[in-house]
Amino acid sequence: MTRLSDDLVALWAPERLGRSWKEGECSILLQLLAILFLIGILLGYVVGRRFGKKEGFRLGFSYAPLELRRLSLLEGQCRLCGRQNDDPSSFDSDLQVCYDQTKLAAIDRPE
């Protein structure tokens, strides 16, 4: 096995200069690769989580009114104001008014 570079050993672990490949470059390369690999995972996780949170809120805010309306229609009672389904012909439009009043879509989304 050819030696990669004494410079790398001198830079990271000078006490290993002149040692065998296994105790010198190989172990240093493994350590540096492990560090770079984990830094990559960390960066990917941090960026992914940040974007994921934003996307989750966006999807949640667009899904919530539909789900609330579905549950309200199923239960015959508005999930937000508790209004009963006394008049089926106007219940759905009443729900719409209720949701508009709560301005669900206009709630500030956390960054």
Partner: protein, 197 residues
């Protein structure tokens, strides 16, 4: 034999000095109920002992003591990097300056090895104290970023520390644990001795 003992002594003295300083700063910020070093020694006593122990550590092994102290200073200031300190500099800038001084004085390997020790100790401490800090509303790396991020960062710095100077890492973590354990015992003893109201 003597170099190892002097290094261990330097780490222990510096751990105690940093602990005293940390308790004093916490007391100043009203973050603890004054049961730390300040309650035991008084503010003046704690400051004097912190300085004295720092000097003893420097006498035993200057490189380890100075780089570890600078690293502890840099890491301690990272809680709130934008906070203006009495020097009128933001805490982040002071952190950077502390690391740079360590690099200029003892080279990047030594400064980085000490920084790794301190980051690992702080991160482990934050991971362990995460729930308590959350309840107390205290700043903590875990509450600020997340458990997985801090755990992964700890592993990365652990590898860096092991790679650069495994003795320093082992000595620092043991020293920090010993001092933390001792402080908890002293604090518990004082609380136990207090007459019940």
């Amino acid at each position: 034999m003597w170099p190892s003992i002097s290094r261990l002594g330097a780490v222990l003295c510096m751990a105690l000095a940093v602990k005293l300083m940390d308790d004093l700063l916490d007391g100043d910020l009203g973050r603890v109920d004054r049961e730390g070093a300040e309650a035991v020694l008084g503010a003046g006593g704690a400051a004097a002992y912190a300085l004295f122990l720092g000097m003893v550590a420097a006498a035993l092994n200057t490189e380890w003591a100075v780089t570890l102290f600078l690293a502890a200073y840099a890491v301690g200031m990272l809680d709130d990097p934008l906070r203006r300190l009495p020097s009128r500099l933001p805490a982040g800038v002071e952190s950077f300056l502390a690391v740079m001084i360590g690099i200029l004085a003892y080279g990047w390997r030594s400064a980085l090895a000490s920084l790794a020790c301190m980051v690992v100790i702080q991160a482990l401490d934050d991971l362990v104290d995460y729930r308590r800090d959350l309840q107390a509303g205290r700043r903590n790396w875990v509450t600020a970023t997340g458990k997985f991020e801090v755990a992964l960062m700890t592993v990365i710095w652990l590898i860096i520390g092991l790679s650069l100077d495994e003795m320093r890492l082992a000595a620092s973590i043991s020293g920090a644990w010993l001092v933390g354990f001792g402080a908890a015992r002293v604090s518990a003893g004082r609380l136990g001795a207090r007459p019940s109201a």
